[in-house]
């Protein structure tokens, strides 16, 4: 992929439209659904970049777990009604948008003026699921164990934090 191809542009447009919709919609459930679209778009971008395992993991973890978790919390906290305040009642509408646009301008300037974008590799690297598994089980087995321990601890902590306090 020397130049940007049409599938890449379509997937990028889907991702960005989904992300913007997730940040702009009024109804919280609509936001969560648009977020799922954005996550699926990012997963498809991974797939189009040749990262098969990551694309599937992104779909499983983000679309399958995190979006559903967010929907659960929305339903638990509001009962699904869409009485979230309008955008004109945003916290710092002008400041927030200006900060975000300034950050984007800086990042885009840095990307477009970087010499690294002209020295991009040409041939697609191979990373099959088998190679990923081998790398995870051989070179990266200690970080894998640590991340598993951290996930367990975080999930137990999340359950304890969200648990009802027992009435004494």
């Amino acid at each position: 992929m020397r130049e940007m191809t049409v599938p890449f542009l379509i997937l990028a447009a889907v991702t960005l439209v989904g992300a913007s919709a997730a940040m702009l919609f009024r109804g919280l459930v609509h936001c969560a659904l648009a977020l799922a679209v954005a996550f699926a778009g990012i997963g498809s971008l991974y797939l189009s970049l040749g990262a098969q395992f990551l694309g599937l993991a992104q779909l499983l973890v983000y679309v399958g777990a995190i979006a559903v978790l967010i929907v659960f919390v929305i339903l638990l906290t509001r009962g699904g009604d869409s009485d979230s305040p309008p955008l004109s009642a945003a916290r710092w509408p002008i400041t927030g948008l200006m900060v975000a646009m300034a950050i984007f301008a800086i990042l885009a300037w840095a990307v477009l003026h970087s010499f690294a974008i002209h020295t991009a590799g040409t041939l697609a690297p191979q990373a099959t699921i088998r190679q990923m598994g081998t790398a995870l089980m051989e070179s990266y087995v200690l970080p894998l164990e640590v991340i598993g321990l951290m996930l367990t601890a975080a999930l137990i902590g999340a359950v304890i934090v969200a648990m009802k306090e027992n009435p004494r």
Binding site: L76, A90, I117, M150
Partner: protein, 103 residues
């Protein structure tokens, strides 16, 4: 424009969208969603540099994104549990009403 520049521009746009949402939305859940979008933008950068970088055979970018997805999952779970706990006390998820710490 090369593929790397396209990926990096898309990811910086995604980051800006997430940052704007995290800064402007009043709902706690949507602030968390904005943070998730920013994390995803960083992951997209890792994958892009893995794909177009000179040492793609090492797969460090892919492994890093895998661990980053794990950390993001833990972060989302703990964050949403905290939102639930705060909601149980204050009966709101509106950030402009959660000023109890400020006083």
């Amino acid at each position: 424009m090369t593929g790397l520049a396209g990926c990096l521009l898309v990811s910086s746009m995604l980051f800006a969208v997430g940052l704007a949402g995290a800064l402007t939305r009043r709902n706690t859940i949507l602030v968390l969603v904005g943070i998730e979008l920013m994390l995803n933008a960083a992951n997209l950068n890792f994958v892009a540099f893995w794909r177009f970088g000179p040492h793609a055979g090492a797969m460090t970018g892919m492994i890093f994104v895998l661990f980053s997805i794990g950390v993001a999952a833990a972060e989302a779970a703990v964050g949403l549990a905290l939102i639930l706990a705060v909601y149980r006390h204050t009966k709101t998820t509106d950030l402009s009403q959660l000023t109890g710490v400020r006083r």
